[in-house]
Every structure is written in structure tokens, then in C-alpha cells.
């Protein structure tokens, strides 16, 4: 059901992308009129680079969106869960010499158990109907994550030095980094299997039913507490995996890095429509391209790279204001 709508997504995506490019060109024109010369790099290299970054953003957003879709919880711990993944991989690498990608196999059960436990023992026990209490609780959990990492690893940056981290392949003149390609592949696998799970399996139907009306689902014999815990487990696992994938890409990380990715995840999911899974991936790609092209820009003597976050944030605010349901979303095909 979700997959069949992808064509429409793509259309909307292209329309909006075209719109933004036109806007950017107009803005550049205006600025150049006023004396300063503006230029953006829209070479294949930059665009593809943006798509690759965007794939990772999408993967981060995917978990966040899934959790929101089913539980209406904006998971503020998502960024720190991602950091947890990074440091899990670091730990395994430093202690056991385990390759980060191998750590993904460990992250699957660890992330799932962690998410499952959090939902079961914290979020499920929140008193109902009191403001944004789940938002706050996850904020607290995130702080506990990141500060536990502080306690365990200290504040200094950590890095893994794997040989493939800086290797690239050259396809048709475009240089592609290996870790990015791996990340893209795993993102694709994740969204496909998640879609399969949700729309082709019993448990998927139960998840969707729980998302729409948990009381109703419970009365059909669905153990909704368990379903919610499973969903949180999947969401956190996705965050951990994203963290591990990012480690070789970034090269060096600190325990507070999660905050930045949390923001990216927010932007991505809002662009795609909170709770809309394919939307998250598309939102991620979109953000990646806009940011990368934006960051490559130059107005007069000012490089726009330092404004990189501003591109995403501005889009975020605009989408929140004018299309709070996301660029591509109608309520019907939420989780």
C-alpha cells in the first residue's frame, strides 16, 4: 500500500525540489543584482554526495518516524541512541578489534532490548494525559545515555581507524565513498524490510492497528504493550545501526554528537510527515541534497558552509508552517 504510492511521492518530491532550485536561483540572482556574486555547486558529485548523506539522515529519521507513528512519542533520545551505537562500535573495535560493520549484528539485539525495555519500564508507565510527558521522559533518557557515555569514555573525541574509511570508488567520474555506499545499502534494506513487516505480516497489521487505536487493538487480542515495546525496540535499533554506519563516515565522534543528529532527524521526519516511513527516507534525501548544495554555495566572499544547518532549519520551519503533515503526506498512509 505504501510502496505503491511511491510514484506519487517521487512526483511531489521532484516538484518541490524543482521549486527549491528555482527559488535558490532567484535568490542568487537577486543577491548578484545587489552586488554580491552568488554561486552554488550543482555538479553530479555534489548532488550525489547530498543523496548519500541524505540516505543516512533518512535512516535516522526512519526510526524516529516509526516511533512517532505508532506511539505519538517524539523520541528525544533518538540522537543519543545513535551515539550509543557509535560508542558500542568504538568499544568493540578498541577492545576486541571488531570491525564496526560486524558490530551491527550485535547492535540488533542490544538496540532492540534497550528500546523494548525503555518502552516497557518507562514510557508505558507514564501517567496518561499529562502534557508532553513522553517527550520529556525521552529527553531524560537521552541525557542518561549521553552522560553515561561521558562516564565510560570521557569527553575526548574517539575514532576508529579502519582502512576502508577513506577509500572511494569512481563511477562515471563521480567519487563515492565506500562507507557511504554501505550506509545507503543498509538504509535501503531497512526501509524495504520495514515496509514488508508493516504491510505484509500479521504483526505489522497489529502494529498499524495499535498505532491507530490501541484500545481497539487490545480488545482484538493484541498485546499492545508488547507491540509498542517491539516498535520502540525497532526504532532504537535503527538509531544504533545508523550510528554505527556513521562512525566510519565521520571519522571521529564525541559523546554529545547526538544532539545534532536529533535535529536532523526532526527535520527529516517533519519534511516527510511525522509517522510516514517512506516520507522519512525521501525527506532525508531531500535534506541531504539541500544542505550539501547549500553548503557548497558562496555569496560574494562569504562561503555558505557555516550556514549549512540554516538551510535545513529554514525548510523545517517553512514545512511546519505550511504543510505540517509533511511535504508528501496525507494522513491515510501513516504507520
Amino acid at each position: 500500500m505504501l510502496a505503491s504510492k511511491n510514484n506519487k511521492h517521487l512526483q511531489r518530491f521532484l516538484t518541490v525540489a524543482a521549486g527549491i532550485v528555482i527559488l535558490a536561483v532567484v535568490a542568487a540572482q537577486l543577491l548578484s543584482r545587489s552586488g554580491a556574486e552568488a554561486s552554488f555547486d550543482i555538479s553530479a558529485q555534489t548532488i550525489i554526495q547530498g543523496l548519500l548523506v541524505g540516505g543516512v539522515y533518512g535512516l535516522i529519521g526512519l526510526g524516529l518516524s516509526l516511533i512517532f507513528g505508532v506511539m505519538r512519542v517524539v523520541n528525544f533520545a533518538h540522537g543519543d541512541a545513535l551515539t550509543l551505537g557509535m560508542f558500542l562500535a568504538l568499544f568493540m573495535f578498541n577492545r576486541l578489534g571488531l570491525d564496526p560493520y560486524v558490530t551491527i549484528l550485535i547492535a540488533l539485539p542490544v538496540g532492540f532490548a534497550l528500546g523494548y525495555g525503555i518502552q516497557r519500564f518507562v514510557l508505558a508507565r507514564l501517567p496518561e494525559g499529562v502534557g508532553n510527558s513522553s517527550l520529556l521522559a525521552t529527553l531524560g533518557i537521552g541525557l542518561i545515555f549521553s552522560n553515561s557515555i561521558f562516564l565510560g569514555f570521557g569527553a575526548q573525541p574517539q575514532s576508529v581507524n579502519v582502512p576502508y574509511a577513506i577509500s572511494t570508488v569512481n563511477i562515471a567520474g563521480v567519487q563515492l565513498s565506500i562507507p557511504f555506499l554501505v550506509a545507503g545499502l543498509i538504509t535501503a534494506i531497512s526501509i524495504t524490510s520495514l515496509n514488508f513487516l508493516l504491510y505484509r505480516t500479521e504483526i505489522g497489521r497489529a502494529i498499524r492497528a495499535t498505532a491507530q487505536n490501541s484500545l481497539g487493538a487490545e480488545l482484538q487480542g493484541v498485546n499492545t504493550r508488547q507491540i509498542q515495546a517491539i516498535v520502540f525496540g525497532i526504532g532504537i535499533t535503527l538509531a544504533l545501526v545508523a550510528g554505527i554506519l556513521l562512525l566510519p563516515i565521520l571519522g571521529s565522534v564525541i559523546p554529545t554528537i547526538g544532539e545534532n543528529f536529533l535535529l536532523k532527524a526532526f527535520v527529516v521526519t517533519v519534511l516527510g510527515g511525522l509517522g510516514n516511513l517512506s516520507g522519512a527516507i525521501i525527506g532525508g534525501l531531500f535534506l541531504g541534497v539541500v544542505e550539501t548544495v547549500g553548503a557548497s554555495g558562496q555569496i560574494g566572499s562569504i562561503g555558505l558552509n557555516a550556514w549549512r544547518d540554516a538551510f535545513g532549519l529554514t525548510m523545517f520551519v517553512l514545512v511546519l508552517l505550511f504543510r505540517p503533515e509533511g511535504l508528501f503526506g496525507k494522513t491515510v498512509k501513516r504507520v
Binding site: 496518561e128 520529556l136 562516564l151 544547518d309
Partner: protein
Amino acid sequence: MTTTSAHSPRALPKINFGSTWLSLALIALMIIYPFVFGKNMNWGIATLIFAGLALSWNILGGWTGQESFGHAALAGVGAYTLTLLAIHYQIAPWWGALIGMALATLLSLGWGWLTFRLRGAYFTLSSIAIALLIRIYAINDPNKFTGGSEGLFMPDLPTFFGLDLFDRRVEYWLAFAFVLLVLLITHVIRRSRLGYALLAVREDEESARALGINPLRMKMTAFAISAALTALGGCIYAIYLQAFEPHTLLELPLSIQIALMAIIGGRSSIQGPILGAIVILGLGELTRSFLGEANLLIYGFLILIVTLFAPGGIMGLFNKTGAKLGKAR
């Protein structure tokens, strides 16, 4: 049992508008502090400033339920305005503060007008985004008016009725006056039409509209008051810091800290935010030596404890009105 109008006493019941004596007790505590802890003025000043900021936050976040995670930007507007005016135009800090408050109010009006159609988590997210955009601007200002990422130094300031503004005692009383002002405003608002309108809007905008309340206007009013007071707090904070940078003043964690103080203290109450500031900064001071770099761990656990067991915050433990009955699953 169905009541008919057959009840006898026509006495008007006494509505509890929030405990006045608790406010008085807290004020007394603040007055005593410098006489007892004269050697720890910095902690006292910081706590007062944050108490005031949390109280100001609460006017918007607690009462209308629009939880902003972007208030650091408003404090920043105050701090920057006062300092920049003092540096570039030698404008006295009190005028600078007033101008800063006015600017923050203007900003909040635009900001609110744009984002108040969003609710719950959406509003919170939008507030983060807007505050961060302001931060990015302050850092990268192409004209370097904001001082960029190197930040600003507070220049020498004229004396305030003969008082040296850099004297920690003077700063303490300044911060105290700030808290007092916000507390007073809070008390007045709580029992006024505005206060009730805000609470009504928080609970149900449609219902509020039916009762003659314009939610947008009320929220804007609350935001404007909150912003002006936050900017004032930012001004005092700037004088206290004497040197600040966007990286310390305009970051998300500061915004979250302000919000959390109010939430942990109890947002439905009047005095909760003050208690929140005291508890958080006090615990931070106590645990600093053994938690080290992980000193925010304590926040994490506090938030969990409050959300799980005391949804009304610390104040909710004392009076029940803030905490709703636990709903059955």
C-alpha cells in the same frame, strides 16, 4: 443524586489562586541568602537569574502549554542588545535593557504569529529551529555586528543610582528584583482574565474560543510578556557574565535547562519554577565533584522521576490540583 437549587448558604466559595505565603517564604529566603552565604554570591545570582528565566518561561510554556525549547534566544536578544548598545553607543544599561525587552517582544510577536498554529511537539520543534537560526545568525553575521563567534565583552558601565553594577551584591539584588517582578506579574496574571484565558487555551482552544477568548491573541500576549521578561533576565545574565559568546548563550541546552527548571519544579503552579531552579542548580553543585563530566546525568534521572511519579513537578507533590488523577489504563 441530582442537585436542585435547594441549597442554603449563598456564600461565595474562596477560590485558591495559588499560595501567596509560599511566595512570601521564598522571597524571605532570597532576602536572607546574601547575609548567610555572602561568600557564595555567584551561585545565588545564577540561581536567581535562572529562577526568573524559568518563571518567565512558565508564563508561556506552563500556562498556555506551548513548550518552547528556544528561550535562550530571547535571553540572548536581551543580553546582546544591552551589551552592543553599551559598546557601540555608550547607552546606559537600563535603557539597553528596555530596548532589549522591546526587541524581544517584537521578535516574539513575529515568532508567535508564525508558529502558534502549531501545537504540542510541533511547536516545541519549531521553537528549537527558530532559536537555532538566531544562533547561526549571531555566529555568522556577515557584518560582524554581533561580534560573531568570539562573542562580546561587557564594557565598563555607568553606575546605577551610585551602585557599581559589577559588584556582586548589587547584581544579587538586581537579580532578586527581577525574580520579584516576574513573581509579582505571575501572581497578578494568575487571577486575572489573562491568566484564566491562558489556562483555558492550554486545555482546549476551541472551548476557549466559544467563551470569547481569542487564543492567538492570548498566546501572543503570554509570549510577549514571557519574552520581555526573559530578555530582561538575559540582560542581568550578561552583566553577571561580563563576557559571553553565542556558543554559551544561544545553545539548545540552555533553552532546555530553562524549560526543565520550570517543568521539574511544577508548571501548573506559580512557584514551581523557582523551586526547580534551586533544586537543579543545587544538585548540580553537590554532584559536580563526583559525577564529573557526566553532571547532566542528574538531570536525566530527575526528569524521569518527575515524569513518572510527579507529573505536577515538585510543587505537584505538595498540592494536588496540579496533578491529575491517574487515569486507568
